[in-house]
Amino acid sequence: MLTRVFGWLAVAGLAVGLVMSFGVAPRELTQGNVQRIMYVHVPAAWVAYLAFVVVFAASLVYLATRRPGADRVAHASAETGVVFTGLAIAAGSIWGKPTWGTWWTWDARLTTTAILFVIYLGYLLLRGMVDDHERGARYAAVVGIIGALDIPLVHFSVLWWRTLHQPPSVGRPEASAMDPIILVTLLANVVAFTLLYVYFVGKGVRILRRREEALA
């Protein structure tokens, strides 16, 4: 029931976000319409990080309490996170082609996101390959914790290795160049994507529970 409410909220949010992205927000002067990709790219990246933090927390809870619910939340959140990481990379790539002139470059944040993508793909692969359900949940929780602990290390190593990405434009006092309408549009999309994430995880948890009941 609650999941359904979040689903409809997400639909409404996405509709508002779409209208604002294409109708309300002005065309950016230097980049043109290409800049509108940001309204997908940034929220997707945000949801990806949120999802992996949830995987970390749920994994800790699972190992401490062994509640199957925590395991399902971690599983569903990881699946959603991987999808949104892929979406963020794809959207960034499409934006990068006209802006940087290349689909892919080994820039710091691109690389970090790509590494996260493969870490959590490995996590999902592991879940699929362990026959015993309870054992799979335990192993996945360990990988979920280590993957999250690894994020700062990956971030700094890749940052020192090379950097080209423009610094983030939200939440920095000197980056006041952003039009308030653009900012509001971006935030509306972030909210919409977060609602969508909650809906996906809720739905995923229910499917996982049904599957376990069916197999039990």
Partner: protein, 226 residues
């Protein structure tokens, strides 16, 4: 010696004794290291300058590939020899087993890495002796990080279908920070730059080692459960 340290040491000694008597893994790994060298030479051609530029990366590629083979086997032998139950029944804190296994794997990897370094010195004309001190430190720091998570994931994948596939797929992405740091630091060490110029990379390696070893100690219990 506390009980914990003694338990860890017993596991380490057991692995060492098995390897000393059978020499199974070490022999195969030495041969594999030699083959890797051929492979690098053939795939990059004989252009000496290009080889020199790629050397730090190749060196760590050699360490990683041989390390994957070495670590991947470390818990499979327990299963093949029906010793897994013995590990489960061992009294006390299971993280001592992790520490012992990690020590054994570390010794094995360091032995192979010494061999690879020697081979590089002979075949690729690397002056290993000139920067031995810094190089030894970097190799040690990098190998601890690699072996810590490798030991943990090897214990995990010992029970999984397609473990040869899943082990590298799980381990390699998580090891990216260690790989970047060691390659950059090795590059500096081989060109004779002072270690202070790569202090931030060494700091990252130390941080990674601490995080991985502590995470391994804390989570190993959950992996060894029946």
């Amino acid at each position: 010696m506390s009980a914990f340290a003694r338990r860890a040491f017993i596991v380490l000694w057991k692995d060492f004794a098995i390897e000393r008597r059978s020499k199974e893994t070490l022999n195969a790994l030495a041969f594999f290291a030699l083959l890797l060298l051929f492979l690098f030479q053939f795939s990059l051609g004989s252009d000496r300058e290009r080889l020199t530029a790629a050397l730090p990366g190749l060196l760590w590629l050699g360490f990683v590939l041989s390390g994957l083979l070495a670590l991947g086997r470390s818990f499979v032998i327990e299963r093949e020899n029906d010793c897994w139950e013995g590990l489960l029944l061992a009294p006390g804190d299971k993280s001592a087993i992790f520490l012992g296994k990690l020590g054994g794997n570390l010794l094995l990897m360091l032995a192979v890495e010494t061999l690879i370094l020697l081979l590089f010195g002979v075949f690729f004309n690397v002056d290993v002796g000139a920067s031995l001190g810094p190089l030894a430190l970097i190799v040690l720091l990098g190998t601890i990080g690699f072996a810590a998570l490798g030991t943990l994931f090897a214990a995990m994948t010992a029970h999984v279908r397609a473990r040869e596939l899943l082990f590298p797929v799980l381990l390699l992405p998580v090891q990216v920070p260690v790989l970047l740091a060691t390659v950059k630091a090795t590059e500096a060490a081989l060109t004779g730059a002072p270690l202070a110029s790569v202090a931030h990379w060494l700091g990252l390696l130390v941080a990674a080692d601490v995080v991985y070893v502590v995470a391994g100690l804390l989570t190993f219990d959950f992996i060894l459960e029946p």
